[in-house]
């Protein structure tokens, strides 16, 4: 793909708009409360748009379509889980968490469990999850820039995103980011909906599947290349072939031998680094190992007992992981009260449901038009590559520019949210919580993930995001659920659950990375261990809390009442004002209740 000037222009525009909106609102931010929780005055509609804007990450914008292209029906659990997570968050967490008056997740732990050690532990995990989530965003940015501007090395995209995010968060913290994220939700919705409408119209205009001259999506045959294609394999892959195919390979090794004209029978074939494969139009598509090879098995969800296990594990991780994501929770603290927090979540459910219809459609379309991505396995590029295939020429370039710009908005908004939450925790728990500390923490929160993203080998965006959901579900989810609803939780129990759940997931993560470099021996279970780690964490909290009832915080009842009592009774007491507030606010707080 040659340099796409339209796409570059689109990306630049998004970057510029983000920068200027952030810059304008950061002039209003000057206190610690501005930087941490935007003074807790964000209305529920804007907050919902901001939450959705922050949440629709690279995994949602690029990853879901890519996974649908590769895995078919089983991938549909990702958008379901991403949305249903908010329903569970609304049912159990939203309002009580806001009423607790905390300003970060570690602060909530201290408020509820009365232990400074617990606060430190929670801070460590917030930073861990934040970084684990940031790395795939930056890698996705690298991929996008690489797709649009093939000459650019992969780190350029990561550097651009890091730069814009750093400037915005540095300047205005949460206050600036709220407006930026709300804007980016609508931008992303447009950037995925408009191209989808146009492409679906073109698809049916061409006479649907039959007109495209390819395998129908319900046929028990592999997909076929709609046109002659040259594929460059950059990292070695193993391909599954179900229908014999002939191809020409140049520049690398195929099945251990030098290339040339090759005939592949059914079975597994290996392709070495730097090989160029040429397929003619109409030949069946070999797919990367592990993906369903023909369209019927692609269409059918759950094709074996192993699939069943992975599917349930994924459901647990996504449904319960959302409520443990620190960058999502930190936005709930910006609501004025508990009722607004609940309404915000309701809006979020609507906004997300609306958005997720489109990547699913794009994923199915790309199975017909860009099956060559199945050969390299880099299916995350589907949304970016699809427009040029459906509508070659100017229209395709413009549509491609719109999706590339939307993808860039996704990296920017999610990274901003993550950086704000990590910097908030760093500045209040490691440093003193002054505005200056927040700015220094921002630098660290941007620089560290950038270095990691640069040095690690990129994997599927959605898979690594799935793992950070598993981490969140096994650490903060038990703590929040039991902390809010169970009177007898103690800090010992909470710490035990967090260490056990988090430790297990991290062990799986390390095993995964090691196996990626040493021949892929780790079973699929290691990619999504939530079905085991989440119950283990819950059990650990329950058992250890029961065993240490002498450690119950003295004011447990009062805190519980504050979390659950309706807002009109006026029990909310904001801990950030108590710690960082102006003298007048502190006095008001010391006086007791402040009624609205």
């Amino acid at each position: 793909m040659e340099l796409n000037a339209w796409a570059m222009a689109g990306i630049l525009l998004v970057g510029l708009a983000t920068f200027s909106i952030g810059f304008r609102s950061s002039r209003l931010a000057n206190t610690t409360q501005d930087f941490l929780v935007a003074r807790r005055t964000v209305r529920s509609r804007r907050n919902a748009a901001a939450i959705s804007g922050e949440y629709l990450s690279a995994a949602s914008f690029l990853g879901i379509a890519g996974l649908v292209l590769k895995d078919g029906a089983d991938a549909l659990w990702y958008p379901i889980g991403f949305t249903a997570g908010y329903l569970l968050l609304m049912l159990f967490v939203a309002a009580p968490l806001r009423r607790s008056g905390a300003y970060t997740l570690p602060d909530f732990c201290e408020a509820r469990l009365g232990s400074a050690g617990m606060r430190k532990l929670a801070a460590v995990f917030v930073i861990f999850i934040g970084i684990l989530y940031l790395v795939p965003q930056l890698q996705g940015a690298g991929l996008t820039i690489h797709q649009v501007l093939p000459g650019a090395p992969v780190w350029v995209g990561a550097a651009v995103v890091s730069g814009v995010v750093f400037v915005n968060v540095f300047g205005g913290g949460m206050r600036a980011i709220t407006v930026v994220q709300a804007f980016q939700y609508w931008l992303k919705l447009f950037a995925i909906a408009a191209p989808t409408f146009v492409m679906v119209a073109l698809f049916f205009g061409d006479g649907g599947v039959r007109g495209a001259g390819v395998t129908g999506l319900t046929d028990p045959m592999p997909p076929r290349f709609p046109a002659d294609v040259v594929i460059t394999v950059e990292t070695p892959v193993v391909l599954t072939v179900t229908e014999p195919v002939t191809l020409t390979a140049t520049g690398g090794r195929v099945d251990g031998a030098l290339g040339g004209r090759v005939y592949w029978g059914a079975g597994q074939h290996t392709v070495g680094e730097g090989t160029e494969l040429r397929f003619t139009a109409g030949s069946p598509v070999p797919v990367v190992q592990g993906a369903p090879p023909d369209n019927l098995s692609w269409l059918r969800p759950v094709s074996g007992a192993g699939d069943l296990f992975t599917t349930y594990s994924l459901i647990v991780a996504l449904f319960l992981g959302t409520m443990g994501l620190p960058h999502v929770l930190v936005r709930f603290y910006t609501n004025p009260d508990g009722r607004a927090a609940r309404r915000t979540t309701l809006h979020v459910l609507m906004l997300l449901g609306l958005f997720y219809l489109f990547p699913i459609m794009l994923g199915a379309l790309s199975r017909l038009y860009v099956p060559e991505l199945l050969v390299t396995g880099k299916t995350d590029a589907a949304v970016l590559a699809l427009p040029m295939k459906i509508a070659p020429g100017l229209l395709g370039e413009i549509l491609g520019a719109v999706t590339a710009a939307g993808a860039f908005a996704a990296f920017l908004s999610t990274s901003s949210g993550l950086v704000v939450s990590v910097a908030g925790v760093l500045s209040t728990d490691v440093f003193k919580g002054k505005v200056r500390d927040f700015r220094f923490a921002t630098f660290i929160a941007v620089a560290v993930p950038f270095v990691i993203a640069w040095s690690l080998r990129p994997t599927d965006i959605t898979l690594s995001v799935g793992l950070s959901f598993a981490l969140a579900a096994s650490t903060f989810c038990p703590l929040l659920l039991l902390g809010i609803w169970w009177r007898k939780i103690t800090w010992v129990g909470a710490a035990a659950g967090m260490l056990l759940g988090g430790g297990l997931v991290l062990a799986a993560l390390v095993a995964n990375i090691v196996s990626g470099y040493t021949g892929g021996w780790a079973p699929a279970f290691f990619q999504q261990p939530a079905l085991v780690t989440v119950p283990a964490a819950f059990l650990a909290v329950l058992i250890m809390s029961k065993a240490t009832q002498s450690q119950l915080p003295l004011d447990a009842n009062r805190i519980r009442m504050r979390m659950h009592a309706p807002d009109r009774l006026g029990f909310i007491r904001d801990r950030d004002i108590a710690r960082f507030g102006a003298a007048e606010d502190r006095a008001r707080l010391a006086n007791g209740r402040h009624r609205r």
Binding site: A73, I80, F92, V302, L308, I315, I360, N557, M561, R568
Partner: protein, 135 residues
């Protein structure tokens, strides 16, 4: 507190002939006294308050758990259904395979609907609680 802030250091610079008349209010008759009393009782965690609050939390918890179970039942049964009845993918609804309708389209309005329902229930419980406390 703003009432008190208005007087004070400002009248120290010249000898004022007479201190200005001030209205001293011991109790504002318009304030809802009972509300304050019950709210104070809640704050002080008397045994009555503890019982009331515990009952209220239990109601909210039951509502949330019931709806969560509904969601889990609806979504948790799907993979098992697909596993046990593989022919489901051959059924098509308006040209789209049934599993894709069940997984790709239907969940989103459903989730919003359940969320809306919970919001109504939770706000009703809160209103009832406030009414009871302020009666």
């Amino acid at each position: 507190m703003s009432k008190h802030a208005a007087t004070g250091p400002s009248d120290g610079d010249l000898p004022t002939p007479r201190p200005r008349r001030k209205r001293v209010v011991l109790a504002d008759s318009r304030a809802p006294v009972t509300v304050l009393r019950t709210v104070t009782e809640l704050e002080e965690q008397t045994s009555w308050a503890e019982e009331v609050v515990r009952g209220f939390i239990r109601t909210q918890f039951r509502t949330a758990v019931a709806l969560a179970l509904l969601v889990m039942l609806l979504f948790g049964s799907l993979p098992l259904l697909f596993f046990l009845i593989p022919t489901m993918s051959q059924v098509s609804v308006a040209g789209v395979a049934l599993p894709w309708v069940l997984l790709g389209i239907a969940p989103f309005p459903l989730l919003f609907g359940i969320g809306y329902w919970y919001n109504v229930l939770a706000e009703r419980h809160e209103r009832d609680f406030v009414d009871m406390v302020e009666k």
